[in-house]
Subunit: 236 residues, 2 copies
Amino acid sequence: MKQIDVCLTPDLLHLHTIENTIVVVADVFRATSCMVTAFAYGVKSIIPVATVDECRQWQERGFLAAAERNARKVEGFELDNSPFTYMDEQIRGADVAMTTTNGTLAITRSRGAVKVLVGSFLNLDAIARYLKTEPYDVMVLCAGWKGRVNMEDTLFAGALIDRLKESYAMAEDSVIMAWRLYGQGKDNLPSYLSNSSHIRRLQRLGIQKDITYCLQHDLYDVVPVLRGNALVSMEV
Amino acid sequence: MKQIDVCLTPDLLHLHTIENTIVVVADVFRATSCMVTAFAYGVKSIIPVATVDECRQWQERGFLAAAERNARKVEGFELDNSPFTYMDEQIRGADVAMTTTNGTLAITRSRGAVKVLVGSFLNLDAIARYLKTEPYDVMVLCAGWKGRVNMEDTLFAGALIDRLKESYAMAEDSVIMAWRLYGQGKDNLPSYLSNSSHIRRLQRLGIQKDITYCLQHDLYDVVPVLRGNALVSMEV
């Protein structure tokens, strides 16, 4: 039986072997929700980069640039880290360079995996259906917050486990924990998340609308995958 | 308001500052449950050591020696890692040297804290009452399993949070997660834990009796604290 594992933060990645595994990276608030939305609206590719400087270099070569640090947009860039900025005709066919606090780091650290997919509640069903067609074990890598675990990415892991639990064995306690938390919160995720640290951080920035949007399940039939240094939308 | 934080595994300790904090180390199955039982039965001191060799050296100097690796007793030592071996008149007044897979490591890594306490369900109430008398923030350090998070230590953290939640602010999402899991499981912890990885590992070793024992709440009015290189029982 295939296994599903959860790595609750990139700071625990050293405990996992990913060579024969498909990694699903989740940074639900908001990097991976933005990426999924961008592909749903026709973006051609997204290069996740580690630094704002690197992002600027891609911008100079004609890419649209998206940068966020500490949940705020960086000056001089076309796109910010709200998924709503990607709901725009002008991004159809565009190549985007994106750097975020936690999400891009999690993606670049997963390069050793069989495949690296981008997950969010928005494309949960598409990811689950795709994984079932693959023979490989799965690991959800929660992007967390500066190394710490967070609730929203753990809940995404739990949601994916819930969709896969008939066909995958649960590898470790982190899997059971994520699944149990999702089971407890799934009927009202916004309320369940209301006292989490990142929600409080985001609410201070006035982006309640983004939060509500990012928690919607199964909006888009999109599976972003890392090819070389760029994410592209997989035909599934 | 004082804060309570949870570090889900020693491999995430680098994210936490513990200089102005009281650390409560939990390795519920079974190191910290053994330590609490030992003090309840009159042990004078316990030196947690990192290696089996070091444990042997203390044994040669007249200490009782307790060593476990991979949940099994090490040959040639008086005590094993079942709490029941500590329920014995012969240990009254004894000095013990103990090494375990995860628990002693978590204790030795916490030396920079204001105080290092040893927690388990067995002395939950004693720990909670003591902490309320102190002005410091609290962090529960879950010993985990070889760096990975585990369910039982996370549930202990949740139980302590539940006892302290009126007088402490929850620092991070790990605190909320531990507290929520405990809330979900507390009415039947043995069943809630039944598919966790460590329970399965221990059940293979036939120590169901130990598991049931270690999940009992508030058996002993004992607060072990690290003084120098040894744990002693605090008068509270």
